[in-house]
Symmetry: C2
Subunit: 466 residues, 2 copies
């Protein structure tokens, strides 16, 4: 017999085992108190009321209450009825201490750190409309387990999109949809050692998380310098792989020069090496001619990685790897082991969002908005902090502001923090020694549109007043 029993407005499903009703009631109450479903201090129904509810003898309930009172679970006081004792709670230990605050979680009033687009510009109505259309039109089987590489619909649409906008040479079969660049990199970290990669060349200014992920998987880093032509490749010869940001070096903002692109492709073809092309903000070009993906020069040697984290929102956790033939199966298998596949619901929605043209329209719209913000940043610094030189601004969502003589990153960062502005120094991205002059890495896309003017004014004040 299972009885549903409402106490304090909460339905409690108590098991009353077979014919031993009293023992069953005791056990059920004990369990509810142990698990905290009956909190300390909770008043129990009178034995008469509960007996009526459960359809058992009042005396049985009274005996059970008495037994639990004897065990210390319940207290009975004249006029106050029977209550769960304050000592009855087997309290759950508190939360585990020391969960690292996740990188990228935002708290400051004015956030000018790089890495996030303006989340208030996310096209909610358009996305929901795409979700409705996608889910309404999907066959039932699309809601089940799917290809680890991702939905075929999305891979087909992505292949066309990447070819059209980034010059990527790709067939849908070579794409693995993944949960952002983070997962793409994690999958590659599993696969690269199996194809003989032990050393990987990385740009010596870069994302520390990325370098940590590579190191954690046992890949030894080989540091490449970075200059105005992007990564300097001559140190790569001892490595079997390279991780580059060719379209817009992160964080310095330079573009990999045509000569070095050719060199990189030649290096890969000659040595059988692999290049991971992190095209994290390839959609955002302002002044210059489009710079196509390096991948097109050597599709059998370049792993092209893209994401919607900068164009739409990081919270979607959607990205993709375009793979050389020899790696596709291994990466798909790693993906299958890792999480079977990425949510089909999100994938189908993105498919519809791209197919309908909404994605292109959104990218064009925010590109224009970000270019305006960049221009305002440059103008504000030129007007109020003329000692500062701004670089890396032809593309992307961030700029590098080289500080003037006598200024130090820490001081400016602290001054900005005192004004409610979160900002990062270039030093945080130096994977070896910070050999360049002091500079800030300014993510101008992050604040909501209405907050940008204030954020900019306070940033400029913080720089000027140091």
């Amino acid at each position: 017999v299972v009885k549903a029993w409402a106490i304090s407005g909460v339905d409690l499903h108590l098991e009353l085992a077979g014919h031993r009703v009293r023992a069953g009631l005791e056990a059920a109450l004990r369990e509810a108190m142990q698990t905290g479903r009956l909190a300390p201090g909770t008043r129990l129904p009178s034995s008469r009321a509960l007996a009526a509810d459960l359809g058992i003898a009042r005396n049985t309930v009274a005996e059970a209450y008495a037994q639990l009172g004897a065990e210390g679970w319940l207290t009975a006081r004249q006029g106050s009825g029977t209550r769960v004792a304050s000592t009855a709670a087997v309290s759950l230990p508190g939360p585990a201490a020391g969960i690292r605050p996740p990188l990228g979680v935002r708290a400051a009033r004015h956030d000018l750190r790089p890495g996030s687009p303006d989340l208030s510009a996310f096209p909610r109505a358009g996305w929901l409309s795409a979700a409705r259309k996608a889910l309404s039109g999907a066959p039932s089987r699309a809601l089940g387990y799917s290809d680890p590489r991702g939905r075929p619909e999305l891979r087909t649409v992505l292949a066309a999109y990447l070819g059209r906008t980034r010059g990527v040479r790709v067939a849908p079969d070579r794409i693995v949809v993944c949960a952002g660049f983070t997962q793409g990199l994690a999958l590659l970290c599993q696969v690269l050692p199996d194809v003989g990669v032990t050393r990987i060349a990385v740009e010596d200014y870069g994302q520390p998380r990325t370098a940590e992920a590579l190191a954690a998987s046992g890949l030894a880093p080989v540091m490449l310098g970075v200059d105005d032509g992007g990564a300097v490749l001559d140190k790569a010869h001892g490595a079997q792989a390279m991780l580059l940001t060719p379209a817009h070096q992160f964080p310095l903002g330079s573009v990999l020069s045509p000569r070095r692109r050719a060199d990189a492709a030649r290096w890969a073809a000659g040595s059988g090496g692999l290049i991971i092309e992190d095209d994290y903000d390839g959609e955002f070009r302002y002044d210059r001619q489009p710079v196509g993906a390096l991948q097109a020069l050597a599709p059998e040697h370049v792993i092209y990685a893209g994401t919607v984290s900068k164009t739409l929102a990081p919270g979607l956790r959607l990205g993709w790897l375009v793979l050389p033939a020899r790696l596709t199966e291994a990466v798909a298998s790693a993906k299958a082991r890792s999480d079977a596949h990425t949510s089909s619901f999100e994938q189908l929605t993105l498919t519809e969002f791209i197919t309908s043209g909404a994605y292109d329209r959104h990218v064009r719209r925010v590109r224009l908005a970000y270019r305006r913000r960049r221009d305002r940043l440059v103008a504000a610094l030129a007007a109020h902090a003329p000692g500062v030189r701004v670089t890396g601004i032809a593309a992307g969502l961030h700029a590098v502001a080289e500080l003037g003589p006598g200024q130090r990153e820490e001081q400016v960062i602290a001054g900005a923090a005192a004004r409610g502005v979160a900002i990062e120094g270039l030093g945080g991205y130096a994977l070896r020694a910070h050999t360049r002059g002091p500079a800030l890495v300014i993510g101008y896309a992050t604040p909501p549109e209405h907050g940008y003017t204030t954020a900019l004014a306070r940033l400029v004040a913080a720089i000027r007043d140091q």
Copy 2:
């Protein structure tokens, strides 16, 4: 100068580099052909039309066409204009061969394999409505990078839900939202070796993928027998961890007995061992009293794993781990490295779906439908295949049908396949030798409602006719 140029209705963004217009046009066309953006056979505009479009001299275009003709890229024929040569395509190598057909991807006309709910019962309208409400109400920052454990809103709602429905003792801080049980297990495989687990006890009838994942991470399996009281635990003493399906043993369907539950909790407390409780279909109970989660007996030793893959759809890739305090941080870190976090959009939608009561209503509705299917299965087999004994039917979405004397799994499976019915034998789940009698594992929840009658009739015929 960047020119947008429409050929065959496709916008092609061609780069015409600087003053060397002819060379630039040649390079742009070459690149478009190399990447397949200009397919073989495509007719190019006349030199006059293109020159007008691009605002360059007609002769420049004619010279570029002639040059590319000389190089073999283009063919010019009287009356047919200039076309991309059939040899011009630098064809992308075909898809990588050998991508494993993902487990669970469905193809048969009548699918009675276990592991998937009726996808046609997915509450599309309710889910979309929850998505709309969730996304409309979410603050912008919820669309950015988030806590690796998952959205706090969802963890709070899950803690209450799991306490209420499964008796799980949990605080929101101890939950890590993940992409289904597959990812939950993958994260544990990363973490368990670091806390001293080298050997893990598993039920000797179980999911082969699970056993493979454990083995691939270097954990040595210790096999536990299974009987009518669930897993037989006495062999577990050499292991530091156990993976159990206490509520409904997969695939045999027995329930871990109260005595063994107590034994398991005592084993863990005494040895410091860990128990992974795979509660894959805990929501689906039919005849018996609810069996609460084992986790409540030893929350500091049991990792409770749940999912919406059986209640809603596997394609959502949503699940959760409820963790002992000592593991929470390590699992959250593994999750952060693996994919930062699970899609906030899906998480917020599930939060709304549970909070509104839609999830409970859906589970009740499909539970009723699946119980009816189970009853029909039992009745059909009793009527037409009386030699078959059906077990493991008090819960879940599958039953075990022990075949009659002289019947073999392979024969019945082949007979079913010939009738368009996909079915699995118990032997496929034997992780050691298949020591039990021949049996089928029948996933009666999988077919759409309108297809169940036929699926059942054909299954019965296949069994009867062997």
